[in-house]
Each structure stands twice: as C-alpha cells, then as structure tokens.
C-alpha cells in the first residue's frame, strides 16, 4: 500500500498522470488518424475466429478457398409460375453487371482451352473410350463415335473432320453437367412443393468483382445486391428473390449483432443512467463513466489494429464488454467523493484524498485484470489475443483517465441516496458473519473439488451452432437451394501437394484408381479434380502416336468415308503441351476450386467430393500409402471439422488460460496481502466460477464463450472483493454502494445479453450474469475475513 501511495504522490505532485494521459491521447490520435486514412480494418469473417492450423500449407489453402467463396452469392428465384421465374432469372442476369456482379455459371469454356482440345482431341477421354483406345478396339470406337454423331449432339464444338472418334465431344457431353453445376435449377426453373403449393424455383450464382474482404466492402456489396433484388421485386412483385453466400452471412450476422447489441445496450444504458442518477442525483458521474469507457475502448481498438493490422468485430464486442469493469472504478471515485463532499477539508486536499483512497484498490484491480487477461493472451488464438489486448489497453487507459482527469472535474455536491439493494448486500454481509468458519472452509473445499471435477468432466461444445446461428429465413433459403443445387461438398476436400503443375497432374492420375475404388466401395459418390480437365503429360505423346495409327484402321476409315473421304490424321504434335497452360486456360471457377498455387512455389490440387457417404472411411483412406508417402503428400481438409476442432482447442486453451489467470491473480494478491486475505480475495471469483461451471455443465455443455465470461467474473470478483477488503479505509458505505451499483448495472447489461439470438453472446451474457450474482453474494464475506485477519 505504501508503494501505491508513493506512486500516487509522485503523480499528484508532478502532474505526471496528466502528462502521461495527454501523451497517450496524442499517440493514440496519431495512430488512429493514420488508420482512418487507410480505412479501419474491421473484419467479420467467422474463419478468422479459428486458430491457425499447425499446418501452414493447410491454412493457406483454406484461406485461399475462403477468399474465393467470399465473393460468391447464390440467388434463389421463386414464383408460382414457371414463365415468371424464367423472366426474373433473365432480367436478373441482365441487370447484375450494372451492380458489379457477373454470372458464376461455368457456361462457357475459354477459347484457349477449346483450342488446346482441338489440337489434341485424344487428350481427354471418357473412361470407356480410354479403355477402348488403349485396347485399340476400333469396332467399339467406331460404333460409339457413330452413336455420338447420329445422336442428339449436333452442336459439338468439333466437327467429325476434327474429332472423328468424337472423343472430345463425348468427354464434354459427360462433363457438361459439371460445367453447369449439375443442377437443373440453373438451366431452367424446377417445380418444388412448398407447404402444399407448387413454386417454380431457379438458381442464379453470382460473383462480385471486388477483391476487398473487409466488412465495409462486404456491406457495400450486400447493399448492391439488395438494390438489385429490390429493383427486381418492384418489377416482378409476384416473384421472390432470396440470396445467400458467405458475405451474406457475414453481413447479416454483423447486422444482427449490431441490432441486438444496440437494443440491449440501449435498454441497459437507460437502466444504468437511471441507476446512476438515482444514486448520485447528478449527470457528471454518468458522463464521466461513459467518457472513460469510450476513451478506453478507443485506445484498445486503436492499439489492437496497430498490433494486429486488423480487428475482428467480435473482439470489439467482447473486449468492450469485458472492460466494462472500469465503470466500477468511475463510480468508486464518485462514491468516495460524495462521502467527502461537505466534510471540512480544503477542496484540493479532498481531490487528492479521493485519488489516494481509491488508488490502491484501482491499481490492484488493474494489475489483477492484466494478469487475468494475460491468461487469455497465452491461448495463442488471434481473436482471444485481440480481446485480451483490447481489455488491457482499455482498462489501463481508463484507469489513467480516472487518476489524471477526474481530479480536474468540478467537485459537485451529490445528495446521498441508497439503493434498496445495498440493504440486501448489508444483510448478506451480516449473514456471512453468522456462518461458522468450519462451514465456510468446507463450502470452499467442496467448491474447489467441484471446480476441479467439473473442469475435468465437462463436455466442451465444439458445435458450430455455438458460434453462429443464421436467421430462420436464411436457413430456409439455403435448404431450398441445397435441394436443387447439388454442388461438390465445399467444406471437405483433399489437397495433393506437388512441386509443380506437371508433377501434380502426374500424382492426380496415379491416384485415379484409388479414388475409383472409393467410389466402388460406396465411400463417395463421385469426385472432381484437375485430372478430369487436364491431360496426363506422360501419356500425351504416346496417345498422339497411337491415335494416328488408329485412324488408319479399316473400320475407322470406313467410318470416315460416310462423312467425307478427305479426313486426314492429325499432325504429330511437336511437343507435349505444358500442363500449366492447360490449367491457365480453365474457367476461373473451375481453376479456383481445384488448383491452389502456394506461397512456397509448390502447388496444390484439390480433390472435391460429391456425396460423402462414409466420412470415417474417407479419412482413413487418406492414411494409405497411395495418398501419403515420402514422395506423395495429401492433406485432408475438412473446414467444418477444423472449425469444430479449432473451437475445441480454443476452449481448452481458454480453460488453461483461466486457470493461469487465477494463479497469477492469486500470486499478485499474495504479494500485497497476507496469505489469508489473499485467499479470501481469490475465493470470491473462484466460488462464483465454480458454481457457474457446475450450473453450465448440469444444463448444457461448456463453450468458449462461457469461459470468456469467467475471465470477466474473475476481474469483477477480485474487484468487488478488494473493494470490501478496503472498506475500513473508505468512508462508510462506499464499498456496499459501489458493489451494489456495479452489480446491478452489470447484471442488467449481461442479463439482457443472454436473451440475444446470437448463441455466443447469449452464452457469454448468461455465464456472466450467474457469476455476477455469485460475486455479489460472496464479496461481503471478505469483510469478515479481513476483520478476522
């Protein structure tokens, strides 16, 4: 305590706090203005919440795929009439470019790609044709080609003179459905039963031209999409257009968060304003508290952006909530001031006295809060680290504001008014006095055992639903789309790594029999990879020679004769086409889906699956030597699993972080107090967290966001406990007043938060509320303990 007083005296005498505060403002302002010029990099991507996987290549592939998906939107057009749906589809396609969108349908293969096929019609074949070609089965090849040219395939892009055996024609006929996404709903409306009424529905995939993935850019794109849809709705009032996509989820979740946070924070703010006015009867404490927390949040956000180059919207939401503890410090100041106002002390002395009185408590709370958030920082998770840094910077800046600025505020007379809840708190304190010591010891022993058991036994909820639940309307739209738009599974795929494109294609061709075996075994229904679009360079030369030999076959010559006698064998190619050229000529959508050039110069070929029937067998298959050997590395990428796994890891690390935070806080308390007092101080949040953990485990499963709440509970619990432990140094009634005011204010804010539709915020709010109630009940116990010691 002497150390605190020395520091404070130094600050008061030399205006050091004011100078430090002014420098903080200037530095933060400078950094903020620079950030503002570049645009505040606030992101809302859910994948950002995930820990970086231990495999950097996997992380890079996931990130690249996410970037590609982020620009994609899928529109679902519905109307009671087929004709109307078609009209809306056509109009949307026509208007989309005016709003910065273009069709994501792979309707056309680029001319460069077709030119490559034209030069080598033998390059890509269907399996049956490949087998007949390798076996030189001219009978089958002739019949099959005739079947193709006589069938309803008139518009093959090669004529019989260029592709007499129709290899390319048949290949593209088979691949056509993949070009068009395998969905009839893309080509024309389909009839679907919707609650006993038939709707004609059609899908229009769109891609936006912007590469900017910030929340602002996504918001702008989403607005453009809304305008496009609104224009269509005005023109066709009987039709409905709904949209989905990663960006839609990002924007809607951000909007939902903002809307709910706005409502909750408005109600909570009004309640806290009323509460503050009731207690202090003046606006100054309220403005000062609000100003302090806004200033602290601003410093925290700017600091985070400066260190991390960007900040996630959830880090702002949780960070500013967690640093709400500083409101207690503000009220601490004004409660003490109210008690001193009117006393016969010179004004300047009074101001110095207030800071001197509250300084040790604030400092200790600050130190323990920093220690607590260090526990959050060491988890190594980016968002958690952002939350921790925002909190620490915010709380430090807020405390600095209190000690530097508050003494400059006019000292006003505040009539005393006591909250009814203060009486409750006093009753609780008195009740604790009556409880025999052995009961308290046993109670805490049981709570400690329960905490240990709960942390050991509790189930961690890695479910994605714990992160985010989309609105019902968006879920319904996606369900409809999924029924008619069966794309390859976007979240689970394999990545084959190779030194260059040529080696990659060679690997992919080597894996074909293994993948075919997986289809035969019923593990998957199908797959798509680059080998389906790019020929094997190793067999190209051999194919060319064999093809020209086959063209001399009598049966095939007779087949030519039916068209034209002048068909000549193709010229021998001068060299094998570079595989990279084939890949470059692919449509962007196919290329982005199946090929990822890596930062280290290597390349990854993605194998995408359709209809994963047996995920466990698929995971197991990857471990076979065919896919993973010293020469061949294949990664199993499952983003849903990665997210779940990431959440689980984050939760586990946050659990250890919480334990570390408790130890650090206890260590600090031990350094300032005697053992028993330190034990009593840490016992308050420990008991609260134990009870909360037990309740959560009893009624559900533990999630990361429950644990985040416990960090806040630790800070608040220690804060309340310190306030009570210092109660003999404060004017009478201050501790009860501050704890009551803070507890009611926080319980209102976090209690309301538990009603939000966002699962993570609801979990956070619920756990915080329970902890707060427990802290409120256990904090007065400290008085008795301090008195005894």
């Amino acid at each position: 305590m002497k150390l605190f007083n020395k520091i404070n005296n130094l600050g008061q005498r030399n205006y050091t706090w004011l100078i430090i505060w002014s420098l903080t403002v200037l530095i933060t302002l400078g950094i903020f203005l620079a950030q503002l010029q570049k645009g505040l990099p606030i992101v809302s991507d859910i994948s950002y919440l995930l820990p970086a996987t231990s495999n950097a290549v996997e992380q890079e592939i996931i990130q690249r795929q996410n970037e590609s998906f982020q620009r994609r939107y899928i529109l679902l057009i519905s109307s009671p009439e087929q004709n109307l749906t078609q009209q809306v589809h056509a109009t949307l396609s026509l208007l989309a470019p005016d709003f910065g969108f273009h069709s994501a349908l792979n309707q056309n293969l680029p001319q460069g790609y077709l030119a490559l096929v034209q030069q080598r019609p033998y390059a890509l074949m269907q399996d049956a044709d490949r087998q007949a070609f390798n076996a030189a089965n001219s009978e089958y090849l002739t019949q099959s080609a005739m079947g193709y040219w006589l069938g309803f395939n008139a518009a093959s892009f090669l004529s019989p003179s260029k592709d007499p055996l129709a290899f390319a024609g048949k290949f593209f006929q088979a691949m056509g459905s993949r070009l068009n996404g395998q969905a009839e709903g893309l080509l024309a409306p389909v009839a679907t039963d919707q609650q006993s009424a038939v709707l004609w529905q059609q899908i229009l995939p769109l891609t936006h031209t912007t590469a900017d993935k910030s929340l602002d850019a996504q918001q702008l794109t989403f607005n453009a999409l809304q305008q496009l849809i609104s224009q269509i709705q005005q023109k066709f009032p009987d039709a409905q257009v709904a949209a989905t996509g990663l960006a839609v989820h990002s924007v809607i979740s951000a909007q939902q968060t903002q809307k709910e946070i706005f409502i909750i924070s408005s109600v909570a703010t009004i309640a806290i304003i009323a509460l503050s006015l009731l207690v202090y009867r003046r606006a100054l404490p309220l403005f000062a508290a609000c100003g302090t927390i806004v200033f602290g949040s601003w410093v925290g956000v700017v600091g985070c952006i400066a260190l991390f180059q960007q900040i996630h919207i959830l880090a702002i939401a949780f960070g500013t909530s967690l640093m709400g503890v500083v409101v207690d410090y503000s009220f601490h100041y004004f409660s003490v001031q109210r008690r001193l106002t009117g006393a016969r002390t010179p004004v300047n002395n009074k101001k110095s006295n207030i800071i001197r009185i509250i300084f040790p408590g604030i400092s200790l709370s600050l130190i323990t809060a920093v220690a607590g958030y260090f526990g959050l920082w060491q988890t190594g998770m980016l968002v958690l680290q952002q939350i921790a840094l925002l909190c620490v910077l915010g709380i430090v800046a807020s405390c600095l504001t209190i000690v530097a600025i508050y003494p400059l505020l006019p000292q006003i007379y505040m009539p005393a008014w006591h909250l009814p809840i203060e009486r409750l708190l006093t009753s609780i304190a008195l009740s604790w006095q009556r409880v025999p010591t052995w009961i308290i010891y046993n109670l805490f022993a049981v709570l400690l055992a329960l905490t240990g058991y709960t942390l050991y036994q509790t189930r961690i909820n890695p479910n994605l639903a714990a992160l985010y639940t989309p609105p019902a309307s968006l879920k319904a739209t996606e369900k409809n789309i999924a029924q008619i738009y069966k794309e390859f599974v976007p979240n689970q795929y394999w990545a084959v790594l190779a030194a260059d494109p040529q080696a990659l294609i060679k690997h992919l061709y080597q894996l074909k029999p293994e993948l075919q075996a997986l289809i035969s075994q019923g593990v998957i229904q199908g797959y798509n990879d680059l080998s389906q679009w790019v020929p094997d360079p190793a067999s190209m030369d051999a194919n060319a020679q064999h093809y020209n030999e086959l063209l001399q076959d009598a049966k095939i010559q007779a087949h030519f004769a039916q068209f034209d006698a002048s068909v000549n064998p193709l010229p021998q190619p001068s060299s094998v086409q570079l595989t990279g050229e084939w890949i470059n000529q692919l449509p962007e959508a196919i290329k982005n889906n199946l090929f990822v050039p890596l930062a280290d110069g290597r390349v990854a070929g993605l194998i995408r699956f359709s209809g994963i029937v047996n995920p466990a067998a698929l995971h197991a298959a990857l471990k076979s030597a065919a896919f993973n050997s010293p020469q061949q590395q294949t990664l199993d990428i499952d983003t849903i699993h990665t997210i779940s796994d990431g959440l689980k890891t984050q939760t586990q690390r946050a659990r250890y972080g919480l334990a570390l935070a408790f130890f650090l806080t206890f260590g600090i308390l031990m350094a300032f107090y005697r053992n028993r007092t330190a034990l009593a101080l840490i016992a308050v949040p420990l008991a609260s967290c134990a009870i909360t953990l037990c309740l959560i485990s009893a009624f559900g499963s533990l999630s990361l966001f429950h644990l985040l709440a416990l960090f806040l509970a630790l800070g608040l619990g220690v804060d309340y406990a310190i306030l009570f432990s210092h109660s003999d140094k404060f004017p009478a009634g201050v501790s009860a007043e501050i704890v009551s005011l803070a507890a009611v204010g926080n319980a209102l804010s976090f209690g309301l938060l538990s009603f939000t539709s966002l699962p993570m915020l609801a979990a956070f709010g619920m756990a915080t509320s329970v902890c707060l109630i427990c802290n409120f009940i256990f904090a007065p116990l400290v008085v008795r303990w301090v008195q005894r010691t």
Partner: protein, 202 residues
C-alpha cells in the same frame, strides 16, 4: 469455328424434344388444325440426314420411335448402327453394342421433362422458348420456330417442322451451320411401341 459445350447441351435438348415432340405442338393462338395433329401416343419410322458444316457428305441414319404421353420415349437407330435411347421421368438410358448407359445428368433429366411437356401438348412450354409462325399451302402446313432466349439462340438458328395430317418433316439449323433433317415416314412402328411398353413395365 469453336463452340462451347453449353451450346452443345442446349442444342441437344432442343433437337431431342423437337424431333420427337414437334407433332404435339399446340397453342391458343395457333391454328387449331395444327393442334389437332397431336396424339397421346404415336410410333413410326424416320430417316435422319445430318450435314455437318465443312463436310461434303451427309450422315444418314434410319430407325423408328415410339412415345407414350407422360410415360416414356424410345428413339431407336437401326442403320448404320444399332442404338437405342429410352427416356422417362427417371432419366435417359442408351444402349450400344450390348452395353447400357444410364445418364444421371440433370441435363438429360431436363430433356426428359421437356419431352413430356411437349407430348402432353404443353404449348405454353414451347412458346416460352420459341416464337411460333404457321404457314399454310393447301393441306400442307409449316411451323417455324425462332428461339426467344439467348441461351437457346446461342445454339439454334432455326427450326422448321411441316406436315399434313401429321408431322412429316423437321429441319433444324444450328448457329454453326450444321443442318439436321428428319423425315417421318407416315407409318407406324408396332415393334418400337411394344419395346417401349415393355421397358415401361420393367
């Protein structure tokens, strides 16, 4: 000239359903005499001549066909190769040299859907994709179909069907200049109808 695969698919659809189902065309604003041509089920033989642009000889094929409204279709080539194509609401199945291939692609399903719409005299469906123009010369009629949508127009330049008391002739010209002519011989093909019935009962 290089063409895209999507054009191929569109053309595939259009030729397919028009070749079989053109006889069923009807509409409120179309001459009722043409509407009267439609039948719930029919069979016959055909001769198809396909001339690819740049080739000096047409590819000629002969065969028979049968359809049953809203049930199924058989399109069978007898010469120069033997090839069968069955279609119903479940998809399309082709047989060549004893081997059978079932198309599970959505395009084929779409084709089937269009065929059945046509065979069901769903003139509204046809009018969505084409502008229809009827001409008469004595007992002979001709219906010219011009694509409305850009997607179909990218593949098909024009379609003309003609006949007297039934559909006799179909000509389809692609944007690339390939011409397909199908002459319906005016007879029936009981064997084709029996095979279709058997297939439908499978």
């Amino acid at each position: 000239m290089l063409r895209t695969i999507s054009r191929s698919i569109s053309c595939y659809c259009i030729i397919f359903y028009l070749a079989v189902g053109a006889a069923a065309v009807h509409a409120a604003d179309i001459d009722p005499r043409i509407l009267a041509i439609s039948r719930p089920e029919a069979s016959g033989t055909f001769t198809q001549k396909r001339l690819f642009k740049g080739m000096s000889k047409p590819l000629i094929s002969k065969g028979d066909f049968a359809y049953a409204q809203r049930k199924g279709l058989l399109w069978r080539t007898m010469a120069p190769i033997e090839n069968e194509l069955f279609a119903d609401s479940r998809g399309v199945q082709t047989s060549l040299m004893g081997s059978t291939q079932t198309s599970s692609g959505k395009v084929e399903e779409k084709v089937t859907h269009l065929i059945f719409s046509l065979l069901a005299m769903d003139i509204e469906q046809l009018q969505k994709d084409f502008m229809l123009d009827t001409r008469w010369q004595g007992e002979n009629w001709q219906l010219d179909l011009t694509p409305k949508s850009a997607l179909i127009a990218a593949a098909i330049k024009s379609i003309a069907i003609s006949g007297t008391s039934r559909l006799n002739y179909l000509q389809l010209t692609t944007q690339q200049g390939d011409v397909t002519e199908i002459t319906f011989n005016g007879d029936t093909a009981p064997a084709a109808m029996a095979k279709l019935s058997a297939w439908l009962k499978r």
